[in-house]
Symmetry: C2
Subunit: 432 residues, 2 copies
């Protein structure tokens, strides 16, 4: 039985227990959330060493780090280094988006080394295999695609991005309306190419029941991918995107009926004032399914700093109810990220997630900020470093240009905290 | 006559012309904004080589970089290096917040080397002088304070942060309510210490007319500082902060009556969902005076990354109508920033400002994002780099891990843009 089926029948699984313990909440709340589909616990039975993690309503906002090879850079060691960087920086999940080198070997190595849930996009490998074996992506057969999905599941992947909502109807909307950046999702592009060339419906939509059947068997969580996500502010919240969301909303219901856990992927590039509306729409149309956004990026022009544009969008999205933030690294739009990019991306997304959790009222979120502020007032540097989101970085900067006094070198002798302690506190003003 | 007085009489100054040209808007809109106080043009007549800059309604959101020495680090050369880093990164203004070494010499060197408006906080120097000459900040006389203000004005400072709204009434509110981090503004702490020890009203409030008189004479813009700004999320939007804002609102009106340009400073540390309310309150209470916020920082726990926490808050603030963002660097709360911190801080704030400008509908903001997206679709890398907010950084990352093909190494052969060009574009599918 899947976590969803267990929860529905009133059972609490060991995975739910771990989630509840980690979040510091009653396990019954986790069970209820899983039962009604507002929480997912991606946990493939075949993923050894997994520490399960809950994603959804009432839980802390989670962060995902995308790693993986490309045709230009395809070393397993580099990917394992990126995995370690992501986990060290505190990511809650990783996705292996490899499209270069020995894709299966990379995936197996990543799953084997990962204590956090691992996601993949099987259509990448299916499409690339079709090029090698049949000469073109468009020659991929439906069985090829499903064989790839089963391979991934058998290797222990915990959640699969499946662009099931990319239908001929969405392509029609796309054509009628036009776009600045058409399709920026690789999975979406593979499938649309296939659909146009073969004049057929998306096999992930046409054979959705087949997908549900194999997902249910291994309790793999479906992450319903947004192949039509906007790749520029100009395309945000447009006809094609919302058409796809409507379809995804129907597919969420079918997944739940089949006992399959499902979450929903979202944009992408969005002007700041459209983020909340996108969250509200997803929650309404997809009946509260966990929302998993990429960024969102609030401007297109900050190449080199898209971890920051995404932290802005991600914080607003999280505050509005988004459950899961896919990080974006400084290398986005420019090159494949390296381990340092991965680290920076995870930290930026964790800041966004925490800023959102404060607003959401997630248990413990505000308390940590309060403790930090009390430590600041006491000029207790060890405690400030301990409470910092990235203690190593805080210690490095504090130590690099240290102060001769008790304060930091920013204000030196004229620290407001120290001054106020003298004037508002108990101690008598001395020297000042 | 000040810019405000000129504008009120229907005159267009050379400074207003430059602002209008830079913004690409009708100079009459600038004149009207200056006349009714919703725009300020900080431009001390004695600041040679200044390129004037407008701050306020209908204009692009501006960015300020704080530089300056502390008692721990007080080299003029370092400050000039930070000034260059800030200007190179595209700051619109700088503040010299020096509290260490030869404060006057640093200030003069900064003004001399700066093409952007320079701001200072004269009470720092007055307080420090009082320690040297009289043994304690609390022994500072009112004339000492005004002498310092006049020195700064005579040196050519374009805008002065003046904590005129820190009154005995705000201190009462502070005492009654209590706070986690009391007072984190250095200027606020200096003044409150002085007020408590001497049992007197804040001289900047008591002698506000004297301040207005000398500000009017040199056309120095007042930046009404928020000495009671919250220094932690726990203290956000509290009694003391809003009491001070009410007083500042009255002082804005008196400044306008005296022909003095005025803007208003704001928080500080704010939970994400309180930012818009703070902007709305400032605009209402201060009758549309330009709002100049520090951050805001949406969490207290990200020491080492407060340029990111501030970019999140700054973007939301800008989108809600904030006119001027004071950057925060990665060194905030830990040490005095160095030149690299300054660069990172300016870029992060510029991202926030631009994300806000897109929402505000500032002229040209969306167009640049659209051009970038079109260049992305064409895989035109030179154009993407040219349009990037920081072309050097974009070129570096793109070049470091370059692709063998026309796309970037992120997707290599499987670039969605390339695939869609084949399937939705004119060219025939080849090989795929």
């Amino acid at each position: 039985m899947t976590q969803l089926e267990l929860a529905r029948e009133g059972n609490i699984s060991p995975q739910m227990e771990i989630v509840a313990q980690h979040e510091g909440i009653d396990v019954e709340l986790v069970r209820q959330g899983v039962a009604n589909g507002t929480i997912v616990v991606p946990a493939n039975r075949r993923h050894q060493n997994l520490i399960p993690c809950g994603i959804g309503k009432g839980l802390t906002t989670k962060v995902n780090a995308n790693i993986g090879t490309s045709s230009d850079l395809s070393s397993i060691d580099t990917e394992l280094e990126k995995l370690r960087a992501a986990i060290d920086a505190g990511t809650d999940a990783v996705m292996d988006l490899s499209t270069g080198g020995d894709i299966s070997a990379v995936r197996r190595a990543v799953i084997n080394a990962s204590s956090v849930p691992v996601g993949t996009v099987p259509v990448y490998q299916a499409g690339i295999k079709a090029i090698t074996q049949r000469g073109a992506i468009v020659k991929m057969t439906v069985d090829d695609l499903f064989a790839s999905i089963e391979d991934h599941i058998n290797d222990g992947v915990d959640f699969l991005t499946m662009h099931c909502g990319v239908t001929q109807a969405t392509v029609d909307r796309l054509r009628k309306q036009g776009r600045v950046t058409d399709v920026v999702s690789r999975g979406g592009a593979f499938l649309i190419g296939w659909m146009l060339h073969n004049d057929r419906e998306n096999p992930l939509y046409e054979y959705y029941d087949r997908l549900l059947e194999i997902a249910e068997e291994a309790d793999v969580t479906l992450s319903l991918g947004d192949g039509l996500r906007p790749g520029s502010l100009a395309d945000a919240s447009d006809h094609a995107q919302i058409e796809e969301l409507l379809t995804i909303g129907e597919l969420v219901q079918r997944a739940r009926q089949a006992g399959v856990q499902a979450m929903v992927e979202g944009p992408g590039h969005l002007p700041l004032d459209q983020i909340e509306a996108n969250v509200v729409m997803e929650k309404s149309i997809c009946k509260g399914a966990p929302f998993y956004v990429l960024g969102p990026l609030v401007t297109d022009i900050a190449a080199g700093y898209d971890h920051i544009t995404s932290a802005i969008g991600g914080a607003i999205a999280a505050a509005a109810g988004t459950d899961f933030l896919c990080y974006v690294t400084p290398a986005e739009h420019l090159s494949l990220p390296d381990a340092e990019d991965v680290r920076e991306g995870v930290i930026a997304s964790r800041i966004a997630a925490h800023a959102g959790d404060i607003v959401k009222g997630v248990k413990g979120a505000r308390e940590r900020d309060r403790e930090m502020s009390l430590a600041r007032k006491r000029l207790d540097w060890e405690e400030q470093i301990r409470l910092a989101l990235d203690p190593k970085q805080a210690r490095r900067i504090h130590g690099e240009r240290a102060s001769a006094g008790a304060a930091c070198s920013m204000c030196g002798e004229f620290c407001a905290m120290e001054l106020m302690e003298k004037y508002l506190g108990v101690s008598a003003p001395k020297g000042l």
